[in-house]
Structures are given as structure tokens and as C-alpha cells.
């Protein structure tokens, strides 16, 4: 293993660039190692060994030792990545497709913004805004399709979740707008 690592290092110093996939694989595994340590630290708040009080393993044992296994496996992936035979060592494809990465990032940001807006703007502002953005700006659809879906979706959500299932969606400052509807349907 050490020889492999040295060999790789020499290769890097010699100007040979390792594949993006291999780097990504290593970074992800390292991230999982950090996560495992975090889990172990959390789990150790409860007894991780034998619990003399109740008998059997303590409350923290199950997550602690499983996180330990996770740590070892992720460590194995990191070590393995220095070998020439590592998965992705010869995979020249980029980790993210450069042609579509922008779309994925933009959609994720829009989704995050929508969830962030839910507590104060409410579902009936945040969701239509998301649909408006997604269909009109991102999807470049016509006004008829955009308008129909932007209006019909919240109406469906209201009647399905609120009226039928009695599950109230977050409304934020739009709550007073719904008082007449509550009076009518509840």
C-alpha cells in the first residue's frame, strides 16, 4: 500500500494528473470519515459499552460501533485510491457533467430558496413562485402552460391537503388571507 502511495506521489510529482473521479471518490470517502467521527462523538454521549443497569449494550453502542465500521470502510476507500488498480483510476469522465452542472446547481438553489421561503411567505407564495421560475424562466414555456400550472397546483394542494386531509401547510404572513376559506371549509 505504502509503495503504491509513494508511486502515486512520484507520478503526481512527475506531472501525471490523477483523474477527477478518483479525487472526488477520495474526497467523498474522507468526508464520510469525518462524518463517522462526528457520529461517534455524538453516540458516545450514551454508554457505548456494556450497560450494567439494564444489561446488554448501552444506548450509544449501536450507532457508535456502526459509525466505527463506516470510518474503517471509508478509510479503506481512501487508502485504496492510492493504488493503481483503484476504481476510477482510469476513469477520465468529469465528476459533474459540465454541460448540465449549471442546471443542477440552479435547480438546487431554487429548491433551497423555496424551502427557505416556506416559513415566512408560506406554501401558497413560495410554491407558485417556484413553479413560475421553473416553467417560465428555466423551462422557457409559454404563459398559458405556466399560468395554468402555477394557479392550478396551489388550488389542488389546498383542496387535497387542507380541505380533504386536514393538513395545514405553512402560510407565514399570508395566514390572514385564508381565514375566509377556513370559515367556508372547516
Amino acid at each position: 500500500m505504502i509503495t503504491g502511495a509513494r508511486g502515486k506521489l512520484r507520478a503526481c510529482l512527475g506531472g501525471k494528473v490523477e483523474t477527477i473521479m478518483l479525487t472526488a471518490d477520495r474526497v467523498l470517502a474522507a468526508g464520510i470519515m469525518v462524518l463517522s467521527v462526528y457520529f461517534m462523538w455524538h453516540a458516545s454521549a450514551l454508554p457505548i459499552g456494556w450497560n450494567g443497569m439494564t444489561g446488554g449494550p448501552g444506548g450509544g453502542a449501536f450507532p457508535f460501533w456502526l459509525s466505527g465500521i463506516m470510518f474503517l470502510c471509508a478509510g479503506g476507500i481512501v487508502l485504496r485510491s492510492f493504488k493503481d488498480s483503484a476504481p476510477f483510476a482510469k476513469d477520465d469522465t468529469p465528476f459533474f457533467d459540465p454541460d448540465t452542472l449549471r442546471s443542477v446547481v440552479v435547480v438546487t438553489l431554487a429548491l433551497t430558496a423555496t424551502v427557505a421561503a416556506l416559513p415566512f411567505a408560506g406554501a401558497y407564495i413560495a410554491i407558485p413562485m417556484f413553479l413560475l421560475w421553473y416553467l417560465k424562466i428555466y423551462g422557457k414555456h409559454g404563459w398559458v402552460l405556466t399560468g395554468a400550472l402555477t394557479i392550478c397546483t396551489p388550488v389542488f394542494l389546498f383542496f387535497f391537503f387542507e380541505v380533504t386531509l386536514k393538513i395545514l401547510l405553512p402560510k407565514g404572513w399570508t395566514e390572514p388571507w385564508f381565514f375566509p376559506l377556513y370559515a367556508r371549509f372547516f
Binding site: A24, S67, C73, D99, L111, L157, I167
Partner: protein, 505 residues
């Protein structure tokens, strides 16, 4: 005879107008979901599960099973008309389904797929009916040690047979199990793993949140990345003459279809295997046994029938361990199991004793779902062609909205909606590095059972770890589990030996 009596009572439940309606809605929704490229049964069940609160628990499970069935039928539609599998389970259907469509025989391919799915579904439901009671009877003898050993066995099948990177599979199993431990300790009730002191974690992480994140948000992000341009839809319509001709052709393939059904059913029962490998195996064997193997890959009707019988049979097969043992055979059945627990119907042998009406109602509804799926499938072909032309952005936006609202609905906590987005993004990234998602979902669902049975056994046996191997049934399970666990290592050693023995360059 007793079995027929139970089944008869089951039909009395499943043929109630409300349940027939539910089955019809379920299979139609499933067919559409399955037909959409990128969305399969697991995505459909994950996204739709929160909406099923609208009907009583037993009907909700029938609805979800009908969606599951419909989606298995629907997967073939996009495989044939677009050349893109509706789900991974329908990959093998593209091999011959797409060439058939390009030769102007899309209608015939669709008929073959639907009829083969029906045969696979029906044979497997009969097998399911025959095996369910004996298996549940065996499972009645299970104590906590056997339960633990069985769950461990289910996980080791992913290691030994999953075909994914072993280290990554183990990581995903452990991650799922650790996430299942979030909340309150099962025995002492102490809070544990309350990350960042967020009160939302006190109630644990719901399997639904993880499933919607991974199979809803994550899946769509993955599809956005991989689908660069709108695919071409091959037009198809079915005339009665074509239908008659198609059925006559299919009738000649009894041997292929029967074999595919049995193979699919038994492969489907294994947690790590399921419908995708079953379909690929069935395709491979059909080609091997065919009199005209050279036609495979160029539009052979057998090449459509073989994988379609197997993937439908596998979907029924994976329901068997879920319902009788409480161990799901696939991610979709893991979600069904989670849903059943949520509604207070705990799958396992006791369900057959305590809730026979529900169990037999569900089993008989599989027969009706199968029948309706084939009828709806053939009747709505023009509608599917139209739906497949729907711009992908419309589908994505609606799925995203359903994920957010559906994720919020069960617990009514925004905390869960944030988790969905988080799991979606993390799942998408991990998937790109070949981390398998199915073991993660299964582990989260089975985690509480595994921990409880492990700790109960050790408390009862005063810490004697040998208790798991000393009892005959659990000992057998542990031995098989150990075998699955060392299987990849043995393969590795064999590879190394072969390399050493080969002449040096």
C-alpha cells in the same frame, strides 16, 4: 382447500367497489409514473406515499401495491417508445423493444410487454399465495435472535450478491442503521444523535424523508444532469388485428415466460437482487435457450417477453419476505413496509394471524391489480404516447412540489422538508460516486428492528454473544450471512491467485 377459502374471503374484500376503484387509480398512476423516464416503482411509491393518507390504511397499502404493479408494467413503455428505460428494471426491455419500435412494430412490442408482464405477474402471485402461509408459519417460531440474524442476512446479501463496491455497500448499510438510531434510545428512552440540538431529531428520521429525498429530489437532479435533450417518442397505436396477432405470437413463448416467471419470483425474494438482475438474467437465459439467438438485440419478441415476465414476477417475489417475515426484498417493498408500520400494520407472521382480512385482501388485490394493469396498459397506449411528449421541465417541477409538500404532510415539520432537500443533494452526489442507495433505505427501515432484536437477545441471554449462533435457525442464518460476507473476499483472493499464476510479462 383452506387456502382457497382464505383467498375467497380476500376477494370479498378486494372486489369491494372502493377497493376496485383504488386498484384502478393505483395501476393507472403507476403506469404513468413507470412510463416516465427516470421514474420507477420506488420513486412512485416514495412520492405518492404521503398522499395515501386520504384512504384507510388497508386501502392505502392496496393503492401502493397497485402503483407498484402499474409502474412495473409502465417501465416497458418508455423502454420501447423512447429507448430510455422507465426504470432500471426495464433496462433489458430496451434491448429488443427499441429495435422493434424502430422497425415500426412498437404496438406489437407493447402488446408483448403487457402480456408477458401479465403472465409473470399472475404466475408469481400464484406462487406468492402458495408460499405465504408456510413461510409465515416458519417465521412464527422466530425470536429476537432469529430476527436479528435474518436482518443481518438481508444486509449481507447486498455485500455478497449486490455487485456494487463492497466497501461502499457496507458504508451505506451502516449509515442507514446509524440514521435509524437518531431520536430516542429504544430501551432507556435517552435522547441520542440529536445533531446541532435540533428538536426535529427527537422524533427520529423517517424512512419517508430519506426515500423522498433520494428517490424524489435526488433522482430528478440526476435525470436533469443525464438527460441533455428531449428524446424522440416513437408513435404507436394498437388495432384489434395487431392485438390478436400479438397474443398469438406471445402464446408461442410459454416456455420463456414460465421460466422467466419462476426465475423472477425467486430472484426477487433476495434483498440484494430484485427485478433488474432478474430481468437481465431472464433475457440472458432466453437468448441462450432460443432457437434463433442471433435475432436477440435486433427486435426479437422473445427478448421483450423474457425480461418483462421476470421483472413483474420479481416485484411480487420481493413482496413475499416483506409480508411474511417483515424483511423487504427491495427498496420499494422497504417503503411499503415503512408505510404499513406507519399505519399500525406490522408486517410479519403475526399479521397473518391478527389481520387475516387485510393480508388476504391484499394478496387477492394483487390478482385484480394484475388484470387491471394489463387492461389499462393496452387501452391507454395513445395516452402514454401523449404523456411521454410532456416536457421534462413540467414533470420535474411537479415532482419537486409533490416532494416538498408530501414530505411536510406526515409530520408537518419544516425540519423534514430541509432534510429531504439535504438527502436529495447528498444522495445525488453519492450516487455519482457509485454508492448504492438501496441498502441505505433498507437499513433505515430495518434499523430499529435490528437494534431491538440484538439488544433484546443479549439482555435475555445475559450478554452471551454465542446466543445468535447456538440457536439452530438463527445459527443457520448467521452461517449463510457469513458466507455472503466472505464471498467478495474469496472472489478477490481468486483474482489475485489467478494474476499470480499467469505468466509474468
Amino acid at each position: 382447500m383452506e387456502l382457497l377459502g382464505y383467498l375467497g374471503e380476500g376477494f370479498a374484500t378486494s372486489l369491494m367497489p372502493i377497493n376496485i376503484l383504488i386498484v384502478m387509480i393505483g395501476v393507472t398512476a403507476g403506469l404513468f409514473i413507470g412510463a416516465m423516464p427516470g421514474l420507477g416503482s420506488v420513486n412512485g411509491v416514495a412520492i405518492v406515499l404521503p398522499i395515501t393518507f386520504i384512504v384507510p390504511p388497508s386501502s392505502a397499502i392496496i393503492l401502493l401495491c397497485a402503483i407498484y404493479y402499474g409502474a412495473m408494467y409502465g417501465g416497458a413503455i418508455s423502454s420501447i417508445l423512447l429507448g430510455i428505460p422507465g426504470a432500471s428494471t426495464a433496462v433489458a426491455t430496451t434491448f429488443d423493444g427499441r429495435p422493434m419500435a424502430q422497425q415500426g412494430k412498437a404496438g406489437l412490442a407493447l402488446i408483448a410487454a403487457a402480456a408477458a408482464s401479465f403472465v409473470g405477474g399472475t404466475i408469481s402471485v400464484v406462487l406468492f399465495t402458495l408460499f405465504a402461509v408456510p413461510l409465515a408459519d416458519v417465521a412464527l417460531a422466530f425470536g429476537p435472535a432469529e430476527e436479528f440474524a435474518l436482518v443481518l442476512l438481508a444486509f449481507t446479501t447486498f455485500v455478497g450478491l449486490g455487485g456494487d463496491d463492497v466497501l461502499k455497500t457496507i458504508i451505506m448499510i451502516c449509515l442507514g442503521l446509524v440514521l435509524s438510531a437518531v431520536g430516542l434510545d429504544l430501551i432507556s428512552g435517552d435522547p441520542r444523535l440529536i445533531f446541532f440540538d435540533q428538536p426535529g431529531f427527537y422524533s427520529g428520521i423517517s424512512f419517508l424523508v430519506l426515500a423522498i429525498g433520494i428517490y424524489g429530489v435526488g433522482e430528478i437532479l440526476y435525470t436533469i444532469e443525464t438527460q441533455k435533450s428531449a428524446p424522440q417518442v416513437t408513435p404507436a397505436k394498437i388495432t384489434f388485428r395487431e392485438l390478436w396477432y400479438g397474443l398469438k405470437e406471445i402464446n408461442k413463448l410459454w416456455k420463456t415466460m414460465s421460466f422467466g416467471s419462476f426465475l423472477g419470483f425467486f430472484v426477487g425474494m433476495l434483498p440484494a437482487a430484485g427485478a433488474t438482475p432478474a430481468a437481465l438474467m431472464s433475457y440472458g437465459i432466453a437468448k441462450l435457450l432460443s432457437k434463433k439467438p442471433e435475432t436477440f438485440g435486433k427486435g426479437a419478441i422473445e427478448g421483450v417477453a423474457a425480461p418483462e415476465t421476470a421483472n413483474n414476477a420479481a416485484s411480487t417475489g420481493s413482496l413475499l419476505p416483506m409480508l411474511t417475515l417483515g424483511i423487504p426484498g427491495s427498496p420499494t417493498t422497504a417503503l411499503l413496509l415503512g408505510g404499513m408500520v406507519m399505519w399500525g400494520l406490522v408486517p410479519g407472521p403475526m399479521l397473518f394471524i391478527e389481520q387475516p382480512d387485510f393480508v388476504w385482501g391484499l394478496i387477492s388485490s394483487l390478482y385484480t391489480a394484475n388484470l387491471f394493469a394489463v387492461l389499462v396498459n393496452l387501452a391507454l397506449i395513445p395516452l402514454f404516447v401523449w404523456a411521454l411528449r410532456m416536457p421534462f421541465t413540467v414533470l420535474c417541477s411537479l415532482v419537486f412540489v409533490l416532494c416538498l409538500v408530501g414530505g411536510f404532510a406526515p409530520s408537518q415539520k419544516l425540519h423534514d422538508v430541509w432534510l429531504i432537500v439535504g438527502f436529495g443533494v447528498v444522495g445525488y452526489v453519492l450516487r455519482k460516486a457509485d454508492y448504492p442507495m438501496a441498502p441505505l433505505v433498507l437499513a433505515l427501515v430495518l434499523g430499529p428492528l435490528m437494534e431491538r432484536s440484538f439488544r433484546q437477545t443479549l439482555i435475555a441471554e445475559q450478554g452471551n454473544m454465542m446466543a445468535f449462533v447456538e440457536r439452530p435457525i438463527s445459527g443457520t442464518f448467521m452461517a449463510i450471512a457469513a458466507l455472503f460476507f466472505v464471498l467478495p473476499m474469496l472472489k478477490h483472493v481468486k483474482r489475485l491467485l489467478r494474476r499470480d499464476l499467469s505468466p509474468a510479462e
